[in-house]
């Protein structure tokens, strides 16, 4: 169990996942970080299992007060070089293309961890980013944060009435947003995939038009052939335009919606942990009240511990919620602006292109 804390020796804000290499079924990611001292860079390679190792260690900082109140940066689902259909569905946007978005998401994860006041102090982060040897790949022991164990009890506790209006509101709000964000991401993925299909259809049509060219010196034949060739170019442009539109969608809003969806999930998990602690506390209080004199002291002790833990969590949680709210608005704003700017640029370029082609068409002898 990692207990030692440290300060990070590298800058957090410009960590980069520069490349992904395929080795059989495994994907290896190259991570570059800048030394604080300004004397150079660290280059390390890590697999998904290493990321998971890091995540587990971050979860298991049990002696850090209020650690359960932290909204942990979210890791995407595991990707392999040849993912199954089920995995692809899980990955959504991140599975499209050649893992560019996936790298971006991992990059963001590391930057968030490195920027977090509590999490960045964990020595595991330093090791992950700077050690030339891959960190130990043994599975960390199961802990409170293991999702599988939560699954069964979740339903009952999720609806547990809160004692604090701030948190009750946040919980209600989060429940709704988590659901909507996930739906929006899924539907946007459908849009992008339709766009990609259109691009492919245009490419086929464009190629086929070339085959319609008729040889000969007959002026009508030549006019028709020329029209086919030009139309083929038009559809090639349409294809390129659609491809750009889809890429813009993927890289900006698609990514943004995916992040929003997973961040809401992360907040949901934190709020749930707090709720569970609340349930525990209220049980401890009842036990202390009802305790027979023999057990009374022990129950009181337990109650006091539960109270302290719960308060610590609430303090951290409140800060985290504020931080989270500000961060997501900023992220969404940035995403929407970027998306709009890119699509506007693409639309303008494409309009120019079509205009030119239209003029060229009008110029062919009638």
């Amino acid at each position: 169990m990692m207990v030692m804390t440290s300060t990070l020796s590298v800058h957090g804000h410009n960590i980069k996942v520069t490349e992904v290499l395929k080795d059989g079924d495994t994907l290896t990611f190259l991570i570059v970080s800048q030394k604080l001292s300004g004397t150079g860079e660290h280059h390390v390679d890590r697999t998904y299992d290493d990321f998971e190792w890091l995540q587990q260690l971050l979860f298991s900082q049990e002696d850090e007060p209020g650690i359960q109140g932290v909204i942990f940066p979210s890791l995407p689902a595991k990707a392999s070089a040849n993912p199954s259909a089920k995995v692809m569905k899980q990955l959504g946007f991140l599975g499209l293309g050649e893992w560019q978005l996936y790298c971006k998401v991992l990059e963001r994860y590391l930057r968030q961890v490195a920027a977090h006041s509590i999490l960045s102090k964990n020595k595991a982060v330093e090791i992950f980013l700077t050690s030339s040897e891959p960190p130990g790949r043994q599975r960390a022991r199961k802990n409170l944060f293991n999702r599988l164990s939560q699954a069964v009890e979740e339903r009952r506790k999720e609806g547990y009435k809160d004692v604090d209006e701030f948190f009750q509101t946040e919980r209600n709000h989060n429940l709704v947003l988590t659901c909507y964000a996930k739906t929006a991401a899924e539907r946007f993925l459908d849009v992008v995939q339709s766009e990609q299909k259109i691009a492919v259809a245009c490419a086929h049509f464009s190629a086929s038009l070339h085959l319609c060219v008729e040889p000969g010196e007959d002026p009508d034949k030549q006019a028709f052939s020329k029209a086919c060739v030009q139309l083929s170019e038009v559809f090639d442009s349409i294809k390129k335009n659609m491809t750009s539109v889809a890429e813009n969608d993927m890289n900006t809003l698609g990514l943004g919606l995916d992040l929003e969806s997973r961040c809401q999930e992360a907040e949901k998990e934190m709020l749930f942990r707090r709720t569970c602690k609340l349930v525990e506390l209220e049980a401890a209080r009842r036990n202390a009240e009802k305790a027979k004199p023999l057990k009374k002291a022990a129950m009181e002790e337990a109650k006091k511990t539960a109270e302290i833990e719960f308060n610590d969590i609430c303090v951290v949680a409140k800060q985290e919620v504020h931080r989270f709210r500000a961060a997501r608005v900023k992220m969404l704003q940035h995403t929407l602006v970027q998306w709009c700017e890119k699509q506007l640029l693409t639309a303008k370029e494409s309009a120019d292109q079509f205009n030119q082609q239209l003029q060229a068409f009008r110029g062919i002898a009638p």
């Binding site: 299909k197 259109i198 009508d220 506007l344």
Partner: protein, 420 residues
């Protein structure tokens, strides 16, 4: 402008498509001579086929179309008639029987579609049946326009009757012109010819080359049609998905408590709704500019092949007559030897008869060849013109879409920037 109005008579009987078409015929200029094909601009007949209407109270089969024309050969400048779908098919049958064998390329009408019409009859009001009705209307319009643009066909009294007469006798036997039956008819000539074991002794290499071109064009166009239809399907899918996404964005916007973000998301939902509209229009553009045009040409190429086949038949008839004449001469020679004066006289008469036929058929063949040649040249010209016009239409629409899109993005950008 051919306005085909579609009207459905719910009390129609049998399998026959009962589509009421209102057709509007407008001719821009008059030309007393009727015009040579080289002077097409001298007279122009424009046809409009309006949307179908339900006509109650009339005799069940009395659905009608409306045409208007200003051609000198017609009594009125503009007029309107009502026609059933089967009337259009009937017209085609008549024209192809009369002019096909002479080597004319008779434009084919759209096929009967049992599935499409059943939906419409049953009153299924959905986008696919509205689509079908519109496609058919436009196809009938183009069909008639082609017929009247053909200077020789325009002279045909059946065409004039079709355009002018208040009520047409019901066309019979158009059951054969269902989708499958129609293709059979078009291919009948081809099949008959391909079964012929005699290879035509082509003296004019122009025909051989042209036929090959036509056959390869047929293949290409069929392929293109499939590809465009696939493109249309994907565009419609995009439209649906965009609408779906717009809804989920609207929900996100309404749940959001940051005011500026909430407003931006609602705006985004509106933009996406507008884009859905654009995608729909784009799909329609693809359909009408290309899918339908290419489908027309697949049918037309069938008609072109038909004209080559008719020429082959004319050649065959000439050859058969020559063979028959040869036989008669041989008979005559035998009879000379056998010294049978009565039979000899008969034989001489038969020879004279067949000599006339041979000359006639040779002349027919030459005439058909000349017609086919002229027709094919005209076809090529029209094809180049049609495609160019449609492509320009398409590009103009597409450009408009893009410019609209730019406006939407420009309107959205300040909203996105205003989020804080």
């Amino acid at each position: 402008m051919l306005l085909v109005k579609n009207t459905l008579n719910p009390r129609s009987k049998g399998n026959e498509d009962e589509v009421v078409l209102h057709s509007l015929f407008t001719v821009f200029q008059l030309d007393e001579e009727g015009g040579e094909e080289e002077q097409e601009d001298e007279f122009e007949i424009s046809i409009s086929v309006k949307d179908p209407e339900k006509i109650g109270g009339l005799h069940p089969t009395n659905d009608v179309n409306v045409f208007q024309t200003q051609l000198a050969m017609f009594r009125n400048k503009t007029f309107t008639v009502r026609r059933r779908f089967s009337d259009f098919l009937g017209l085609y049958e008549k024209l192809s029987e009369k002019h096909g064998p002479n080597g004319f390329i008779v434009p084919p009408p759209p096929e009967k579609s049992i599935l499409g019409m059943t939906k419409v009859k049953v009153g299924k009001e959905d986008s696919s049946s509205a689509d079908f009705v519109e496609r058919r209307r436009a196809a009938l319009e183009r069909y008639l326009q082609r017929v009247v643009n053909h200077p020789s066909l325009l002279q045909d009294p059946d065409v004039r009757e079709f355009l002018e007469r208040e009520e047409l006798p019901r066309a019979v036997g158009t059951q054969a012109l269902s989708g499958a039956g129609f293709l059979k008819m078009i291919n009948k000539a081809t099949d008959a010819v391909s079964k012929m074991t005699i290879k035509m002794n082509e003296s004019d290499v122009w025909f051989e080359e042209k036929l090959q071109e036509v056959e390869s064009a047929d293949q290409q166009f069929r392929k293109l049609h499939t590809l465009v239809e696939s493109l249309v399907v994907h565009r419609k899918e995009l439209s649906l998905n965009t609408a779906s996404f717009a809804k989920s964005t609207a929900m996100l916007g309404s749940a959001e408590d940051n005011t500026a973000l909430s407003r931006a998301l609602s705006q985004l939902a509106e933009v996406e709704d507008k884009m859905e509209q654009l995608h729909q229009e784009q799909a329609a553009n693809d359909t009408f500019s290309f899918a339908e045009l290419i489908a027309d040409y697949v049918r037309l190429l069938g008609a072109v092949r038909g004209s080559f086949d008719h020429r082959m038949k004319a050649w065959q008839r000439w050859q058969d007559a020559q063979a028959a004449l040869q036989k008669k001469r041989e008979t005559e020679a035998k009879l000379l030897w056998a010294n049978k004066p009565d039979k000899l006289q008969l034989a001489k008469e038969e020879i004279a008869e067949w000599e006339v036929k041979v000359t006639q058929y040779e002349r027919d063949f030459d005439k058909v060849s000349a017609t086919v040649r002229k027709e094919v040249n005209r076809f090529d010209k029209e094809k180049a013109k049609n495609f160019k016009r449609e492509i320009i239409n398409y590009l103009e629409c597409h450009l408009q879409s893009q410019q609209q899109l730019i406006k939407y993005w420009e309107a959205f950008l300040p909203e996105a920037k205003a989020i804080a």
